[in-house]
């Protein structure tokens, strides 16, 4: 049996307009899982996260990261765990590490993640994001589960450059791309491969 190729979510994203007002990089090699708190196990989960990943479990819509693993608060008792290590065993490992304290469900195949930056990023995002992304209200480290052009997204501020990561469901990537291309074209959308 030959190995099946893994299709990127945003393989179809193309540059549009002149300039680099918005720079988009699809983050590849991520392993992503939803982490769901088991009933009454918050302190045990915090301890397990701390001891296994050296990360303080974020409370609220925040993210924390250490050593290529990030945890994003996406709801009450709900996190997205992201490993940058291109490690297919990450989720199985997480299940074991958090056993009895959280349920872990892999989502790597269902989500595409774009890293967006550029001088016109906030001017572009305000054409779709209905929350205030200004540094004073949404500083680096913030997470939002929201929507853009009727498409559900999870977005988080990486730095106040600003750099924003946006996770989009695979099935909706085409519609999201349309929004991004139309909204960023005036200032120029540049698409780059991941370093």
């Amino acid at each position: 049996m030959r190995d099946l190729p893994n299709e990127r979510v945003f393989a179809g994203l193309r540059p549009i307009g002149g300039g680099e007002g918005v720079v988009a990089v699809e983050r590849v090699g991520l392993t992503i899982a939803t982490v769901l708190l088991r009933r009454g196990k918050l302190s045990e989960l915090s301890a397990a996260v701390e001891s296994n990943f050296n990360i303080a479990l974020p409370v609220g819509a925040k993210w924390t990261a250490y050593n290529r693993v990030a945890l994003l608060g996406t709801g009450p008792g709900k996190w997205l765990a992201i490993s940058e290590s291109n490690d297919p065993a990450f989720v199985r490992g997480l299940e074991t590490q958090l056993q009895g304290r959280a349920s872990v469900v892999e989502q790597s195949g269902g989500l595409g993640v774009l890293r967006l930056s550029g001088s016109a990023l906030l001017d572009t995002l305000e054409k779709g994001v209905q929350i205030d992304l200004a540094p004073e209200t949404f500083p680096a480290g913030s997470v939002a589960v929201t929507s853009i052009a009727h498409i559900g997204v999870t977005l988080w501020k990486v730095d106040d450059g600003p750099t924003v990561d946006i996770a989009v469901a695979r099935s909706l990537a085409g519609s999201f791309q349309h929004w991004l291309e139309v909204s960023a074209a005036a200032c120029g959308l540049s698409v780059r491969p991941q370093d």
Partner: protein, 988 residues
């Protein structure tokens, strides 16, 4: 060639940049900085349109969004746009403008015959006239009214431009960038607040651009320019010009930005307009005030213009609205107009003030013009332009003046419409002779002329204080309170509405052609409330929202009914405050982007296989796969069904909802969700389940697999994935929070294909090799398991919707497309074909499985032949309500199979069951056909349906009556399983 009325100097126009435009096909010059209206004034174009009802000649009446007369069509071709106020159109090179509501020409308009019939065309004319005979309504009256209605014409073509939406956030939204708004923005901006300044005009400054005032010894327009420079340099301030705030909502403001309306064609990637939702902690309404007219005979003649607008044309645009001008005023404002006109070299013939005395310094503004205190203008005459007017002096003598323009100053109405959008009513102020804002919406304050503080000094002070107050409330410290020195200003006014001695038609609402007589008629006929007055006469209901007319109309009503204006009250405004293109509300969601589209991971593969797609909610699903020489869908579908029944087919079922349900209490949880028991399901097994709504009706169905002791995966229908997820979350969070259950959608994570047909096992075994043993013993019907396909995890479920030996195979969606190819490759030797939703539907109808047509929200489990699944050993959602007498009535329509007595006859879903020989009526209706298909297995059409006492009536004949499609087919009632009723194939 028209005469140029452009003044030789002055104005805020750029004389070095000449623009050319056309009006009714005639080329005309203008300058950058002009509006269409100012360029028309400068070119001495007096006649610009015909009125709505009487087709009277009309000229430019104002210089802003209050314009009732100068409505024009702009541009041509697909970009033709009707009913645009010439006073708000920024001139650009090549602009094509045309008058409207006239035929064959503006100068000679056949519709003007309406003026002869005008005694009939009063308020309420339609209601009274078109009552009889009733038969005339549809064929004669309505078409005639429709032909007469409306002003401009739509292009009839697709809009070539784009629109977008955007969202902004600020501490303070300043609505209007006149002196009050700019002072507020400067104060708040300097204090560090995030400020948005929204200004409708393309230039900031408001009336400062139209007046000769000075601030700190600097001309007002230059002060505004400097204020703008300072604001633009503040990183916390955003200036939005060409942006009108049109609506106030709860803490949010709607605004429309005319991004490219001032350009011939929007540049690449630029929308024409942008719709903003602005979320503001606070807002300052500094929208200024609108001058009102006076109701007198002939007050609609071209050349009659608001006095303040004349100052705008002279001071801002260096365009003279007339050669010999008269002023009719109730306030000092008219005298200021006389002064500015004289300064511009325009002859002022007379100033008529309804007041009997004015201050000497005010009277001095008139220069040598004849002055009539306590006077009135009773009649204005003219055709294409004003020729003369009659003045009735305080002694009762009449004098006639030959003038070509008349400035009318009836006092000022603060622009408070936005303050009423959330329901508060304005209150009449006798000292201000104006309605002032009542209770303001939360977070809104009001400053300057909007607040009834009409002088420049008041406006600046008001704005400064409002800005400082907002800063303090936001926790910032204003850097001192700037005090501005302004030039002196007189502002006396006395309310005066209506010249009783008028001769000729005296208009209250110019845009809707409502006269003083219409108001009197409304009073006479009992429509005395302002709301009734508005609706009976259409007063104030046009696109100018009655800015120049509402107050006059209700003041006349007050006079007629012996009430004060305060007692009479006023109407409230609704959004939008200015007209907004529907396209802006749609934004980029047009055409196929109307809503987001969801594509499965195998979409590209399906396309390559010749799929025709169908929308299923947001999803696109392959409906069938055409092959060469197949000429219609039924051929393709029939082939697909036959291949599934005889060999193997694969179908993308990724769109079905998939929910991971995890935790130690999932069994208990699912027992309460489903009507049947799940807690007993063994690991590695799948079970079909039905869930009910609380009211006992079926909500959804699907299978749930137990992959591990505490890890289950539920499948839902494509349509109900989101709804079921919501339902589960509700049940857990609200009803049973004590259960240790977690759930998350994994619809996106797994790409899933049905592999169905007698050779499906061979195909999968070939694909998986040693990775899985798919023998009946190792992996029987309703088994499930997790395997590896190389390094890739996969899930396998032995479930069947088709009734054949079948599986569903799932891989992480990144591999979904590759899996489809791999399945096709693996199935080459077994005759594999892809099949779509149509074949899927035929297969399930042949098998009698229910789907969306039967799970339609009107059916209970028993109706679907699934009553025996309802556990009697446990409680579950919907159990109690499902036992209501009406839901267990044996007469309820229940699932049956159908086949036509004539095998050649076609059955259609939606046909109703009527007993043979009975007359079709609601009383004889016994149910209906829910799903039909041509059955390749049987060679004729079959159906399933819901028939009263259905299962008892197998073997009977009944009619499937379909008057919509003129079909009446006799059918035999049969069991609803047409293929393999014993279920041997799926267990093979």
């Amino acid at each position: 060639m028209t005469d140029s009325r452009r003044l030789t100097s002055g104005g805020l126009i750029n004389r070095s940049k000449v623009l050319s435009f056309s009006f009714d096909g005639k080329p005309l010059p203008g300058f950058a900085g002009d509006t269409l209206a100012s360029a028309l004034v400068a070119n001495d174009v007096r006649l610009v349109g015909r009125s709505f009802k009487y087709h009277r000649r009309r000229g430019i009446f104002s210089a802003g969004p209050e314009e009732p007369n100068a409505l024009v069509e702009l541009r041509s071709g697909a970009r033709r746009e009707p009913n645009t106020k010439a006073t708000t159109v920024e001139l650009f090179d090549g602009l094509e403008a045309a008058s409207q509501n006239r035929w064959p020409s503006l100068a000679f308009d056949v519709g003007a015959v309406n003026q002869i019939a005008s005694p009939m065309l009063v308020a309420g004319f339609y209601y009274k006239t078109f009552m009889w005979p009733a038969a005339f309504w549809e064929k004669l009256y309505e078409p005639a009214i429709r032909r007469a209605a409306g002003l401009g014409r739509l292009s009839g073509e697709d809009d070539p431009d784009t629109y977008e939406k955007a969202y902004a956030f600020c501490d303070l939204l300043v609505i209007g960038a006149g002196p009050a708004g700019l002072a507020a923005a400067l104060t708040a901006g300097r204090a560090g607040l995030r400020v948005i300044v929204a200004e409708s005009d393309f230039a900031l400054g408001g009336r400062l651009n139209s007046e000769t005032h000075e601030i700190d010894s600097t001309p007002g327009a230059i002060w505004a320019y400097r204020a703008e420079e300072e604001l633009a340099a503040l990183p916390n301030v955003r200036i939005m010009r060409r942006t009108s705030v049109f609506g106030v909502y709860d803490g949010e403001y709607g605004a429309i930005e005319r991004v490219a309306d001032h350009l011939p064609v929007p540049p690449a990637f630029t929308p024409r307009q942008r719709l903003w939702k602005i979320v503001a902690r606070e807002a300052i309404l500094a929208a200024g005030a609108v001058e009102r007219s006076i109701v007198f005979g002939g007050n609609d003649r071209p050349g009659v213009m608001l006095a303040s607008s004349m100052r705008t044309y002279v001071n801002r645009f260096a365009a003279a609205p007339g050669r010999n001008v008269a002023v009719f005023t109730t306030s000092d404002d008219g005298w200021r107009t006389a002064f500015d006109l004289r300064n511009a070299g325009i002859s002022v013939e007379c100033v008529v003030d309804t007041r009997t005395s004015v201050a000497p310094q005010v009277a001095a503004l008139a220069g040598n013009a004849a002055i009539f205190l306590g006077g009135r203008v009773t009649c204005a005459r003219g055709g294409r332009a004003l020729r003369s007017l009659d003045v009735l002096d305080a002694m009762g003598d009449r004098k006639t003046f030959a003038v070509d323009a008349l400035a009318v100053a009836g006092g000022w109405n603060p622009d408070i419409a936005l303050s009423t959008h959330l329901g508060s009513s304005p209150a009449w102020s006798e000292p201000k002779a104006a309605f002032l804002a009542g209770d303001l919406p939360d977070g809104m304050s009001i400053a300057g002329a909007s607040a009834g503080h009409f002088t420049l000094a008041e406006a600046l002070q008001d704005g400064t204080i409002s800005g400082a107050d907002a800063a303090v409330r936001a926790g910032c410290h204003p850097h001192g309170m700037t005090r501005y020195r302004t030039s002196g200003e007189c502002f006396g006014v006395k309310a005066f509405w209506h010249v009783a001695e008028s001769r000729g038609k005296a208009f209250v609402d110019l845009q809707n052609d409502v006269t003083d007589k219409d108001v009197a008629l409304a009073a006479q006929e009992g429509f005395r409330s302002v709301e009734h007055l508005k609706r009976y006469t259409t007063l104030g209901m046009a696109t100018d929202q009655g800015r120049t007319s509402n107050v006059s109309g209700l003041a006349i009503m007050a006079e007629l009914t012996g009430r004060t204006i305060a007692e009479t009250g006023t109407t409230r405004a609704r959004p939008p405050h200015v007209p907004v293109s529907i396209g802006a509300f749609a934004g980029l969601h047009t055409g196929k982007h109307f809503k987001p589209t969801r594509l499965t991971a195998g979409h590209r593969w399906a396309t390559s296989q010749g799929a025709t797609f169908v929308e299923a909610g947001q999803w696109l699903r392959a409906q069938w796969f055409s092959r060469p020489r197949e000429t219609d869908w039924l051929q393709s579908v029939t082939r697909e069904v036959e291949m599934v029944r005889s060999a193997v087919g694969i179908c993308d079922v990724s769109t079905l909802g998939k929910i991971a349900v995890i935790g130690p209490d999932v069994g208990t949880f699912l027992d309460r969700i489903y009507i049947n028991t799940f807690s007993t399901l063994a690991v590695g097994k799948v079970r079909y389940g039905i869930m009910l709504r609380e009211d006992g009706f079926v909500m959804d169905d699907g299978t749930t697999a137990r992959l591990m002791v505490d890890h289950w995966v539920m499948s839902t229908t494509t349509a109900n994935g989101g709804k079921v997820m919501q339902h589960l979350e509700f049940c857990h969070q609200v009803l049973w929070p004590e259960l240790d259950v977690q759930m998350v959608s994994v619809t996106e994570q797994w790409s899933q294909y049905a592999v169905a047909g007698p050779r499906s096992r061979e195909l999968l075994q070939h694909l998986l090799g040693d990775a899985a043993d798919l023998s009946n013993e190792a992996f029987p019907y309703l088994a499930c398991g997790e395997f590896l396909l190389g390094p890739i995890p996969l899930r396998l479920f032995r479930i069947s919707f088709s009734g054949e030996l079948a599986y569903e195979i799932a891989v992480p969606a990144g591999y979904g497309e590759a899996l489809a190819h791999a399945l096709m490759d693996a199935g080459q030797d077994f005759g594999v074909i892809p099949y779509g939703t149509e074949a899927l539907s035929v297969l399930r109808i042949e098998k009698g499985h229910v789907a969306g047509n039967e799970l339609n929200g009107h059916t209970v489990a028993r109706d679907l032949g699934l009553g025996r699944m309802m556990s009697t050993k446990k409680d579950y959602i919907g159990r109690v309500m499902a036992a209501r007498p009406a839901l267990i009535d044996p007469q309820r329509p229940t699932l049956v199979g159908l086949k036509p007595v004539d095998p050649a006859a076609r059955l259609r879903a939606g046909a109703h069951f009527i007993a043979c020989g009975a007359s079709p009526s609601p009383e004889t209706d016994e149910g209906y056909v829910t799903s039909t298909a041509f059955s390749p297995s049987l060679g004729h059409w079959i159906g399933i349906g819901l028939l009263a006492r259905g299962p008892e009536r197998i073997g009977e004949r009944i009619r499937a009556y379909d008057p919509v499609r003129s079909a009446d087919v006799e059918v035999e009632i049969v069991a609803p399983v047409f293929v393999d009723p014993k279920g041997e194939r799926l267990r093979a």
